[in-house]
Every structure is written in structure tokens, then in C-alpha cells.
Symmetry: C2
Subunit: 322 residues, 2 copies
């Protein structure tokens, strides 16, 4: 890898990955429109001689083409990651996760770049019947527009690998936590408790079981699977922890760390929202067989996230939720 | 079902289905832009008082909205069915099969229509490892843009069923044959042999094993699965025959019926084109459990197709290939 493009490179996972690539000596191009990315996340990176920024949207062919110049590997992390509100604007996931991926693939084809890494999601399994869920789980029945749009992105990449000799490595993530985490329920809980530490409303019945992964473990996993890919082809890896945590236990960990004792109100129902999965636990045997394993426990990942929140009130408390 | 919209209703399967619905007393609206549909296929239909036409494209929101008026059930059959040439224009499948399906779903939501039938494809399995392939085959690795775009359409419909209480019935078809069949390799073979009966070039090595289904059996299957669907939900059915036919055997049946003895030239390779499946055989236990079974053998379906070709040279020989 000589020159890499990171779409969504000013976002949570994107900027963490971009930092790592630049530190490893790769020339890094960040493409971001700063709608949900933060300038602060790439400020240090862009001081480096081997990092540059193209400000724009992957839906803008001109910006995309400019960002693609000389690139051999694309980490396509830009996405609408707003899983819960898909039903409020049902074509946003299609545009930002499926059509955007098609645009990236076309820009790669035009520029001669043939290696793509894609951030998919455990939600692409819909509601699977096997736990932990392996990559070869049954043909999914999608339960969210987010999952559907990411599965569609995977399918496009796979067809490009087969049809044009691309190399594609897809990761189905659990929820990622850590420094720069700026959306999702741990973020929402923290902000709500900062506003009012006396009570907390939790979507669902609090018994949904989730898996999390620390962002540096995620970046290590991404690079591990990519390094194992030798030549054209298509591989999918689950990327998560073997642990799960029920929502109420996450809440307990968060409130303990924050030193608050709110009254917990459950909104009720087995799912936090329509399309929410009551249980996400991915079978990560495939990526572990390459020698990867997470360095942090779920609890440690939550603690790191909270410590970062405390150190960055200017981002965490000032931002309007994405 | 009171009033049904058939997108692609002037096409091969769409017009056959529209005829059947109208004969059953359903009010039928045909939406077609006649790019690949034929006015001749809906001429008789449109004489009926319970059938009407909206001329336009599903990518045109205004035409779609007009066609949706008062409709309770949508048979979304409009598609780019040009499986072999996806790599020549890689965003066409996305537009016509995925984005178009999203547009149809949005128009349904706006109009209050909540029941959709979708023509997917056995190609959505990519290259499966189980034969005959059941609906619950492993999470597919797409090998064609066509398969990827149809799988993406399925995912969208499934998410709408889960999120908005829609009813979705998806059929993964094998190749459909019969009266009004106007694209695909039987069509191409026939036209080539009419031009020059002395030789025939066959893509691949002639050993690819395909499954076919007669169009009236297909329409019966569509209506059988739909009738079994009671209230909101999402179901997928394979729709095909238990028989398969090797390409060379199809060629032999075609040439015998046509009374020609061409020299057969094989282009070579296990696949007819990139993204072609060397073997398609769907496990149709699920739809058969509802009492459906095909009435015609594969050979009989081929014969009916050839007889229709002979009777309609003005369509079969005059048309430029889609």
C-alpha cells in the first residue's frame, strides 16, 4: 500500500485509521465533507507531510475523482451511520451507503485503483438465528434500511471483485467505541446524564444484548484482514468481541464511572427501535484465525470512551446530535 | 386484491401476469415505458374495461405516482433483465433494479399501498454451494451486478415490511420461457439460426446447467405465494423447475424443432460470461408445499417458446436485441 484514500476520514473510525496509516508511512488522503466528521480529528494528521485532505462528499463525482488520484487502496468508511432513524428518511441509507459505494467503485475503476476495504455491519444479518453469527449465516432478511443498504454495498463490491478483478475486504462491525466516538447510545446516555443526572430514559426493555469493540482493536482488525488478502478476491470478516453486554449493564458501567445515580426509565419492548436487534453477537473465528484479537474488554472500551468524553466537552456537549 | 399495478406490465412476464389478473377480475394498471416492453403485448389487455396504461418509467416519480392511484397491490416486475452485459454499464442494474425498487416503495408509502410482489432471481445466490439451492442458502457472495442489484431490492422490501408494516413476497426466478419471451439465450440462438442455420456460436463450454420455467407456471407460482400471505410480513420463494438442462441439450432441442443442423462452436470456459452461473438449480420445496407445481416440462417450455417465435417474426426477427 503506497497511497490510500479514507472516505469519511474525519469521522470516528476513519480518522483513527488515517492516523494509523500515516504513522505506518502510507500516503493518506482524507475525503470528508465535515457533515458528521470533525476538523479537530484530522488537525494533527494534516500536519504530516504524508497526509492531505479533499473536502467534499462521495456523492460528488468531482471531489471523489480528485481524491482518487494516484490511490491504490480505498478504505470506504464514509456512511450514514444513523442506524435508528432510517424510517424517518428512507432513501438516505440508500444514497449514502449504497449509491455512494457504487460511486466510489466507479471512481476507482476510472482511476485504476482496485483494492477496497468496506465498513459493513452486523446489522446486515437482520435478525439471524445463529449466535454467535458466522459470516456464512443464512441469506439475510433485512430488518433495517441501514442493514439493507450496507448489505447492498457489500454485494456491489463483491460483483466488482468478480467482474473487474478488484480486491474487496468487507468487515461486519459490532458497535465500535473509544476515543472520538461521537454518535450512538453511549454518546446519547452520556449527554443526557450531563444534562440531568437524576434520570435516564433507555429505549427498549434494557435487556437487548450488544457487542462492542474498541476502535484501536477495530483498526488492527481491518489491517489484519487486508494484509492477509493476497491478490484479487473478495473476503468478508466479522469484527467484534466475543463478549456481549446487556444495555442495563452498560448503563450501570456508565453511571458508575460518571458517579451519578439516575432513576432508569425503560421505554419498553424487546427492541430499542424498529429494526434494532435484540441480540448482536458475531462469530469472529475467521479474523481470529489470522492472529487478531481484541486488546480491550467491553468494559474497558466503555471507560476509554467516557474518559475521552470528559476530556472533550467542546465536542461532546456542544455538538447537536447527528 | 382490488386494484393492482404491474410495473414492466408490457414486458414478457409482466404482460402475461397482467392478462391473468384482468381475466380474474382485478383492475389492472400497467406501467411501462416501452423501452423493452411491446405495445402488442398489451393491445388485447387494454381493450378490457378493467385495464389501463400509464406510459412512463418507474424512475419518473410523477408517472409512478399517477400509476399508484388507488392501488392496493404492486407487482414490481420492471427491471433491467440484461444479465450478461452488466459490466458494460455498471450502474444500470443499480438504477433500474435497486433505486427503481426504492422509488416504487416510496410511491407506495405515499399512496398508502402496502403489498408488493418482486421478481428477484436465482442469480442473487451468486455461486451457491448447495444444490438444489434453498431460500436459506448462506449469505450470498454476489458474482454479477444483476444479482447484486436484485438482492439489494429484496433487502429494501424486507426493511419496508419490517419498518412500515408492508407485505412483501419475493420470487427468485430461474430463466422463464414461453409466449412473449424476447430476450435471453434461447432468443439469441433462434435469431442467429434464422440468420445462418449452418453454424451456431455458444458462449461457455456448453456444459452450464440451467433451469427454466414456463411463463404460465411462473404466473401461477406468483399468485400462489401471494394468496398464502396473510397480513403484513416478508416471504421469499424460489420459483423454478426441479429439472435442469445442459446448454448443449437446449441447443439440440432448439435445432431439432427448427429442423436445422448447424455446426456448434463453443466459445469455451465453464461460464458463458463473467458472472454467469455454471449451475442454477433452485430448491422449490417451499412454494410446492403450497400446492403449486409446474405444468410443463423444460422441453415443452422450449417448444412453446419456439412455436411463438415462428408465429411472431414481426417481433422476434425485427427487434434489435435489448
Amino acid at each position: 500500500m503506497h497511497r490510500a484514500l479514507v472516505t469519511g476520514g474525519a469521522g470516528f473510525i476513519g480518522s483513527t485509521l488515517a492516523d494509523r496509516l500515516a504513522a505506518d508511512g502510507v500516503e493518506v488522503v482524507v475525503l470528508d465533507d465535515f457533515r458528521t466528521g470533525y476538523r479537530a480529528f484530522v488537525a494533527d494528521l494534516l500536519e504530516r507531510p504524508n497526509a492531505s485532505l479533499v473536502e467534499g462528499d462521495v456523492l460528488d463525482p468531482e471531489a471523489l475523482s480528485r481524491a482518487m488520484d494516484g490511490v491504490d487502496t480505498v478504505f470506504h468508511l464514509q456512511a450514514n451511520a444513523d442506524v435508528r432513524f432510517g424510517l424517518d428518511h428512507p432513501q438516505r441509507d440508500l444514497e449514502q451507503n449504497t449509491i455512494a459505494t457504487s460511486n466510489v467503485l466507479e471512481a476507482m475503476r476510472a482511476a485504476g485503483a482496485k483494492r477496497i476495504v468496506f465498513s459493513s455491519t452486523g446489522s446486515a444479518y437482520g435478525e439471524p438465528t445463529t449466535f454467535p453469527t458466522p459470516e456464512t449465516e443464512a441469506f439475510p432478511i433485512q430488518t433495517s434500511l441501514y442493514g439493507a443498504s450496507k448489505a447492498a454495498g457489500e454485494g456491489l463490491i463483491s460483483a466488482y471483485c468478480h467482474g473487474y478483478g478488484f480486491t474487496g475486504v468487507v468487515y461486519r462491525f459490532v458497535s465500535i467505541l473509544g476515543e472520538r466516538y461521537t454518535h450512538g447510545h453511549v454518546f446519547d446516555f452520556y449527554r443526557a446524564l450531563k444534562r440531568d443526572p437524576s434520570k435516564l430514559r433507555v429505549l427498549g426493555d434494557g435487556r437487548q444484548e450488544k457487542s462492542y469493540l474498541y476502535v484501536q482493536d477495530c483498526v488492527n482488525g481491518i489491517l489484519t484482514g487486508l494484509a492477509a488478502q493476497d491478490g484479487p478476491g473478495f473476503e468478508v470478516y466479522n469484527l467484534g468481541s466475543d463478549e456481549t453486554l446487556v444495555v442495563d449493564d452498560s448503563v450501570a458501567r456508565i453511571t458508575a464511572r460518571m458517579g451519578v445515580t439516575p432513576e432508569i426509565e425503560h421505554a419498553g419492548g424487546a427492541r430499542g427501535w424498529i429494526g434494532d436487534s435484540p441480540l448482536i453477537q458475531l462469530d469472529c473465528t475467521k479474523i481470529r484465525a489470522l492472529g487478531w484479537k481484541p486488546q480491550l474488554t467491553l468494559g474497558e472500551a466503555i471507560d476509554r470512551t467516557l474518559d475521552w468524553f470528559e476530556a472533550h466537552p467542546e465536542i461532546v456537549l456542544e455538538t447537536s446530535p447527528a
